[in-house]
């Protein structure tokens, strides 16, 4: 008995060592690596898929599969935060595949390559839907890009060291050219434009391809063929899921060719066919501009499309008052489409930026307020309005801070958010409320303060410089 006990005790370290070595080996086993990779895929599926220039990222669970026409995914609704996670989102099937895949990998490791194959086939249509089924959303990002340039001008008025004044936006596509009028229009093709806002969606595709290649046994030809087959399924599904967009784009290209060939009536018909295939296209700037241009070329009587087009052209030549006069008959407190309101608001916002650069802060405050009222879904105008309020009356810092809380919550751009906190801090500082000023500067520093990317306004504010 005793000898058994002694033997048992003697064997314990050996068993423990064996157990430990097996546990450590299990952590890096093929099965564990597959599980780890699937966990990474799950993170990517619920991670950011689209990154707007100012507002918060759209994550996988925020983006619906097939609500091209649903009012719950119009830009004016999407810009509100916090955004709900949807059961019908693109992340749902992906997470389902991953969950089933984990069980399959644990139960039957030889199915691992199939799990990644299915994931590849599911992630491709998810990425395609995100990029191409919501053209109005992508245009709202373009609009945010222009607004970001205006915000940059607003903050630059306050201090040359403001973070958002001297650096590019968080997509790094804005540079000094951002304020050029033609630069605003020199966009890539509408089909390529969403790619600049894409974040981690395609990473998921890449990981799924890697998984399929690695876990499929055999020669490289066999592995590539296997991954290629699943990718082909994914591409076919993606094409099916975005079919209306491609048909609409074909009609659109046809309309452009007909317009170039001076067959305006047919071009107009082709545009209508495009929007019939994908009605969401009818809410885009692109549609309104094309419609208005064709109307203008035909010397038709002025209508809402032509007015939109002419107002847009007037903005290009800095005739902001004319642009406003052209748009105002069609936009009222409860009138006008989102597209029309967006254009009018951007015209007024440009005027506000001009006022601010001339040092006319009261005029700027008024104009920013008007822009924010016309396009209430755009956080940038409200932020600019509140910044202008602070410039006019620093003693209203507490009130402005209270108003701005929701807007700051909606901001995804850390630099803008940090700058706004610095502005509020400065206002408190001027008003003599150093405690609150310090708290705002601390918040600004917490949001953005890195070596070589120093948050100088907040840092100097906190030092009382």
């Amino acid at each position: 008995m005793l000898s058994s006990c002694v033997r048992f005790v003697r064997n314990v370290p050996g068993w423990a060592l064996t157990g430990l070595s097996r546990a450590v080996s299990a952590v890096v086993s093929r099965r564990a690596l597959a599980i780890g990779l699937l966990a990474g895929c799950a993170l990517l599926a619920i991670g950011p898929w689209l990154r707007p220039p100012i507002t918060r990222d759209l994550r996988g669970p925020h983006i619906p599969w097939g609500e091209m026409e649903a009012p719950t995914f119009f830009p004016e609704v999407v810009s509100q935060t916090p955004r709900p996670w949807r059961w019908n989102s693109i992340a749902t099937p992906l997470l389902a595949v991953i969950a089933v895949g984990v069980v399959a990998v644990l139960a039957q490791p030889k199915w691992t390559s199939r799990v990644f194959g299915v994931l590849l086939a599911a992630s491709l249509p998810a990425a395609a839907v995100t990029l191409w089924n919501y053209p109005t959303l992508v245009e709202s990002f373009d609009s945010e890009m222009r607004d970001r340039a205006l915000l940059r001008a607003v903050f630059r008025q306050h201090s040359e060291h403001m973070l958002s004044a001297g650096t590019s936006d968080r997509l790094a596509v804005l540079s000094d050219k951002s304020m050029r009028k033609d630069g605003l229009l020199s966009q890539p093709h509408a089909v390529l434009a969403p790619l600049r806002y894409s974040t981690y969606g395609f990473w998921l595709v890449g990981v799924a391809v890697a998984g399929a290649l690695l876990w499929q046994r055999g020669t490289w030809v066999r592995r590539i063929g296997y991954a290629g087959a699943w990718a082909s399924v994914g591409i076919a599904l993606a094409f099916a899921a975005t079919w209306p967009r491609w048909f609409a784009e074909y009609r659109w290209a046809r309309a452009a060719a007909l317009e170039n060939g001076h067959d305006f009536v047919a071009a107009d018909r082709s545009l209508d066919a495009a929007t019939a295939a994908m009605p969401a296209m009818g809410n885009t700037w692109r549609y309104w501009l094309a419609k208005g241009r064709i109307s203008y070329r035909q010397r038709q009587a002025e209508n809402k499309y032509q007015a939109f087009f002419l107002a847009h052209q007037a903005v290009l030549s800095d005739e902001l008052d004319r642009a406003r006069a052209l748009m105002e008959p069609y936009v009222g407190p409860s009138e006008g489409t989102t597209t029309q309101r967006d254009l009018l608001a951007s015209v007024i916002a440009r005027r506000a930026a001009d006022y601010a650069s001339d040092g006319k802060y009261s005029g700027a405050e008024l104009s920013w307020g008007e822009a924010a009222a016309i396009a209430p879904w755009k956080a940038a105008y409200r932020i600019a309005h509140q910044a202008a309020q602070l410039a006019v009356a620093p003693q209203r810092a507490a009130e402005v801070q209270q108003q701005a809380l929701a807007d700051l919550e909606a901001l995804g751009d850390r630099m803008v958010s940090s700058d706004f906190h610095s502005l509020v801090g400065d206002a408190y500082f001027v008003a003599g409320d150093f405690g609150r000023a310090r708290a705002m500067y601390d918040r600004a520093l917490a949001l953005f303060h890195l070596p070589k990317y120093t948050n100088i306004p907040a840092q100097e504010g906190r030092l009382g410089m």
């Binding site: 086993s29 033609d182 229009l185 060939g261 001076h262 241009r293 070589k452 120093t454």
Partner: protein, 1049 residues
């Protein structure tokens, strides 16, 4: 790789390489790219054939013009950076050119000129070692009467080497340059530089006429011209000036629209727009059509078109009576042929300016915006050419195989199935090199993509097929025939490899020693030198920058100063004290890298890795800078080597290697703490290496002891760092405060940054391609174990740094560079090895075997050459550019010249301000070693808190923590200083000044100081006691001129 797979890969590779070459030869790019070539006598500041020491050349010339030129252009060729100003306005600037490149600038300057005094000012800056700034100027002013004034005349130009200012700035028209010297006219040279526009579109004067439609009905008109082009067109350009918005079509393709110009109420401002129509022109009939819309009145157009053929002939077409027009809505206007459509009428020609004065015309290069169908057609052409090349190659290979079978009577036994495909390799490599060269600004697509080279590409394969048939044995040899030199491998191979290794080490050492003192001491090296001396004095690095600051022990890179201290026992020059250890570590890394390649893979991998590292411009650059980087790099590699050797296999751990790894990683960490993240990747790599056989690892007590030792070192260093950093307060945020943050939540997160920046040269494309290839090899190649280990170490560390380091700097991934080189070398040799093994396994005759090996070796050598960073600089591949050092590049601000100038001219009572006070203090002290108390900088100017400040012990005054110099933190203090001192000096960096000072400070300095000395990236400014501000000087000059009209005339 199996023969069938090899055949497919080679066939596909050839199809893409040759198809791409054929496409680019027959379909010019839509992105303009032209070379300007000239035999020139450049202007410089050299004297008696001796190059000047000046890093800047300022040139200017003035003309008094009684009338404004109708047309004026200027062409500059020079090195390294060119900047052109006309009448005080910036006209153009070139990017920095590399060692083999010449910068070029061709531009129209007509709108900048006016009647009266005019000036052209050129700034040329040096950025490459031993290449003084020089520029060749050409250009013409053309007047309305046909008279011309040449700018190529070297007479009349004046030159200096500083950013001069006499009231007006040096580039302004009013500047008086009488005190400048005449530049030296150098010997005749041939220079070529690349420009991004068709140069002849700028230099060719307008010879066209204004035309208008024959029938002036309505405000829309199509104006078109058909012309015949004989010969194959190489390129073409079109300049258009119209009185209204227009659309342009060339050969049916509409390439520009009028969307931005429509619907405007303001008067249309004609702009001359230039289009590079090279991709649109064709031999035979060409049609150019313009659809012009005006707000009222008949549209008018003036256009010049030129087409160059492969034969070097030029065809010019200008608007004249040959053009035809139609008015009112014309459907499909872009496709109509004016010669066959009777509705087109000849245009009318008008004389005069028609309100568009040539000298006021703005010019711009318009980007072609062809329709989607154009791109589809091009894509179809591309795919078609690739398919044709693939089919042709397959046919050639099949024919050759058939011939080989016939000749050797093997009767289709499959012996020679793969051999003909080997003949495609040189063409594939040539096509790939051509593609890379296209991104080098020393070459343009026109130079590379020529029909003769395309034929050469095909001929190369055909000649080899013939060669294969010729050298084929007439009688089948027995299987496994012995090679003619059986003892070769045993006897000569080691000798040859050894000889190669000696040559590599010798050349690498020479490259590292050649320029070791070419640049002065870097401002960070000055701090390092201080720590080095303190090691000799007190045994540990540390020091007291100023009596008012506490003594501080070095709390980062502590071990980096002991090798330099050792070196200081033998040499005195501070640069050599710091840089000899860097060279030593770099050479040690090279040897270790070569050894690892040989031990882990095979001798060829070792040699290739050593060559790439030895020639690497980035490694050479860091070997000539006395900081911690070369040392960290060596110990990183050594740690990896020891670790792999300790854990390789499935048996017990090799304890000696384990302790070597523990000591090495501790040394690495104490050389730079940032390298600590390498340990995580290393641990992961070990787990992967030993998965399934962990028991011997976990049962080894030495492992735990070694881990504890490393943790103690890390913990002790961390405690020491914190205690030192909390000794005094630092104001501001600096790199020493670096703390990890989730960087993926920040806007500029770039997950691949540190992986790309591990590149051994400025162009990271080839390193990344090699890395991707190695990832494939790591799946099932026989070297997969080693490759996986290397890839995990590299990728984990790079990804971790990208994910959590709140700072992106190229040097932080320098320690990963040799790992990437080893991976790349293994990938390159593995590819060549496929052929090598094929030659060994297949039943080939000796000449055939030699042929296959020669092809593989040649391809490998070419790849090494291209990847060395010395032959091709793909600077136009912007997405793959990293901040690595270039070949013989000037790297950082030079403080030696400014300090010497200051030392020679400063007087008692002067105030000295600097942005790097410790650099000036160091130079002053080293030049006056005899002085009891050498002159020191008085003030440190930093009005925005970017570099940390600290407070002194005795005075509540912010100080520079590097030197203890008092800080000037706003413009008011600066003004007060200027009021207290007659003479004020300011040593600053040319552009970095604005990063640490706000605009008001910069403006005050600009207005109150003059540049008296300039060096690379640095300048000395002086406010002298007889100084008058620039506005005051201008006022006085004006007053003087007025007085001279009335008094003492």
């Amino acid at each position: 790789m199996k023969p069938r797979g090899l055949q497919l890969v080679l066939l596909f590779g050839f199809a893409v390489a040759a198809g791409d070459f054929a496409f680019r030869t027959t379909h010019p790019s839509v992105t303009p790219e032209y070379m300007v070539t000239a035999n020139v006598r450049p202007l410089s500041l050299s004297t008696n054939s001796q190059p000047s020491d000046s890093k800047h050349l300022y040139l200017r010339r003035s003309w008094h013009l009684t009338r404004v030129p109708e047309y004026a252009w200027i062409q500059l060729l020079g090195h390294d950076v060119l900047e052109l100003q006309v009448n005080g306005r910036l006209v153009g600037r070139t990017e920095r050119s590399s060692q083999r490149q010449i910068a070029a600038l061709v531009t129209d300057i007509t709108p900048y000129l006016h009647a009266g005094k005019n000036s052209v000012a050129i700034h040329v800056a040096q950025s490459v070692l031993d290449r003084s700034p020089a520029v060749a100027i050409d250009g013409t002013f053309e007047f309305a009467d046909g008279g011309q004034l040449s700018l190529a005349d070297t007479e009349g130009w004046r030159a200096t080497d500083i950013y001069d200012r006499r009231g007006a700035f040096w580039y302004e028209t009013e500047f008086d340059d009488k005190h400048w010297t005449a530049p030296q006219v150098d010997a005749l040279v041939t220079w070529r530089g690349q420009v991004d526009l068709p140069p002849r579109a700028i230099t060719t004067p307008r010879r066209s006429h204004w035309i208008l439609p024959a029938q002036s009905e309505g405000s829309d008109a199509v104006l078109t011209r058909s012309f015949e082009a004989s010969g194959r067109p190489r390129d073409g350009w079109l300049r258009v000036l119209a009185t209204g918005p227009y659309r342009l079509a060339v050969n049916g393709w509409i390439v520009s629209d009028d969307h931005l110009e429509l619907g405007r109420v303001d008067a249309y401002q004609p702009r001359e727009q230039t289009f590079d129509i090279s991709p649109l022109v064709r031999s035979g009939q060409n049609i150019v059509s313009l659809l012009v819309t005006t707000a009222g009145g008949a549209p008018r157009v003036r256009a010049d078109l030129e087409m160059a053929t492969e034969g070097g002939d030029y065809l010019y077409v200008g608007t004249d009576r040959e053009w035809r027009s139609r008015t009112v809505n014309v459907a499909d206007w872009n496709r109509l042929d004016p010669t066959s459509d009777s509705k087109f009428k000849p245009c009318e020609v008008e004389i005069g300016y028609l309100g568009v004065v040539p000298r006021q015309i703005e010019r711009e290069l318009r980007e072609l915006r062809p329709p989607t169908s154009f791109w589809l057609a091009r894509s179809a052409a591309y795919i078609g050419l690739v398919a044709i090349c693939g089919i042709a190659a397959w046919a050639g290979c099949s024919l050759t195989k058939w011939l080989l079978d016939r000749v050797t009577e093997s009767q289709g036994g499959g012996v020679f199935a793969t051999l003909p495909y080997i003949a495609l390799v040189p063409s594939i490599v040539a096509g790939a090199v051509a593609w890379l060269t296209m991104w080098d600004r020393a070459w343009s697509a026109h130079d590379i993509y020529r029909p003769v080279f395309l034929y050469g590409l095909g001929l190369l394969a055909v000649m080899q097929w013939l060669l294969l048939v010729v050298i084929a044995p007439r009688v089948r040899q027995p299987i496994h025939a012995k090679p003619p030199w059986p003892m070769w491998r045993q006897a000569w191979q080691p000798i040859l490899i050894g000889a190669c290794a000696i040559v590599i080490v010798g050349v690498s050492l020479w490259l590292r020693v050649r320029d070791i003192t070419a640049e002065p001491i870097h401002h960070d090296e000055i701090s390092a030198y201080g720590f080095t001396l303190s090691v000799l004095e007190q045994g540990v690095p540390g020091g007291q920058a100023h009596p008012d600051l506490p003594f501080g022990y070095c709390s980062t890179s502590e071990l980096a100063y002991y090798p330099s201290a050792l070196c200081a026992l033998f040499v005195d020059d501070p640069r050599l004290v710091l840089r000899i250890p860097a060279v030593f570590w770099s050479m040690a890394t090279l040897v270790l890298l070569g050894y690892m390649g040989m031990r882990w893979f095979n001798p060829y991998v070792g040699l290739v890795a050593a060559v790439l590292y030895g020639l690497s411009p980035h490694a050479i650059g860091w070997a000539n800078l006395g900081r911690y980087l070369s040392q960290v790099q060596f110990f990183t590699l050594l740690t990896m080597f020891f670790t792999y050797e300790a854990f390789r296999g499935s048996g017990p751990i090799r304890k000696g290697m384990l302790w070597g790894a523990a000591v090495s990683i501790s040394t690495m960490y104490l050389s730079w703490e940032g390298s600590g993240m390498f340990g995580i990747g290393l641990a992961l790599a070990v787990l992967m290496l030993r998965r399934g056989s962990m028991r011997p690892v976990l049962s080894c007590p030495s492992l735990y002891a070694a881990i504890v030792m490393v943790l103690i070192v890390v913990g002790a260093q961390n405690a020491h760092r914190i205690s030192q950093q909390t000794q005094r307060l630092w104001y501001g945020e600096g790199i020493s405060d670096l703390a990890i943050k989730p960087m993926w939540r920040y806007p500029f997160f770039d997950g691949s940054f540190y992986l790309m920046n591990a590149s051994w040269m400025r162009d990271a494309l080839l390193p990344m391609v090699a890395f991707a290839a190695a990832c494939f090899l790591a799946v099932r190649h026989r070297w997969r174990t080693q490759l996986r280990f290397l890839i995990i170490c590299l990728a984990t560390n790079a990804a971790l740094m990208s994910a959590v380091l709140p700072l992106r700097t190229n040097r932080y991934s320098y320690h990963l560079l040799p790992i990437l080189i080893l991976i790349a070398a293994a990938a390159a040799v593995a590819v060549a090895d496929v052929f090598w093994r094929y030659a060994r396994k297949a039943q080939l005759s000796f000449p055939q075997r030699m042929y296959v090996r020669a092809v593989a070796a040649a391809a490998l050598l070419v790849t090494i050459g291209v990847a060395s960073g010395h032959v091709v600089r793909t600077s136009d591949l912007e997405n793959f550019q990293v901040a690595a050092f270039d070949v013989r590049q000037l790297r950082y601000p030079h403080w030696d010249g400014p300090s010497e100038y200051l030392r020679n001219h400063v007087r008692d009572g002067d105030a000295v301000i600097a942005t790097f006070p410790h650099a000036q203090n160091f130079y002053m002290a080293t030049a006056n070693v005899q002085a009891a108390r050498p002159r020191q900088v008085d003030y440190w100017l930093e009005s925005t808190l970017v570099i940390q400040a600290t407070l002194g012990d005795s005075r509540a005054m912010p100080l520079d923590r590097r030197s203890g110099t008092a800080m000037i933190y706003d413009v008011e203090q600066l003004k007060e200083l200027f009021s207290r001192h007659d003479r004020v000096w300011y040593c600053t960096t040319r552009f970095g000044q604005s990063r640490i000072n706000d605009r008001s400070v910069s403006q005050f300095l600009r207005e109150n100081m003059d540049v008296v000395y300039e060096d690379f990236g640095t300048a000395v400014l002086l406010r002298d006691n007889n100084h008058r501000t620039a506005p005051l000087r201008l006022d006085e000059e004006e007053a003087g001129r007025m007085a001279s009209d009335f008094y003492l005339r």
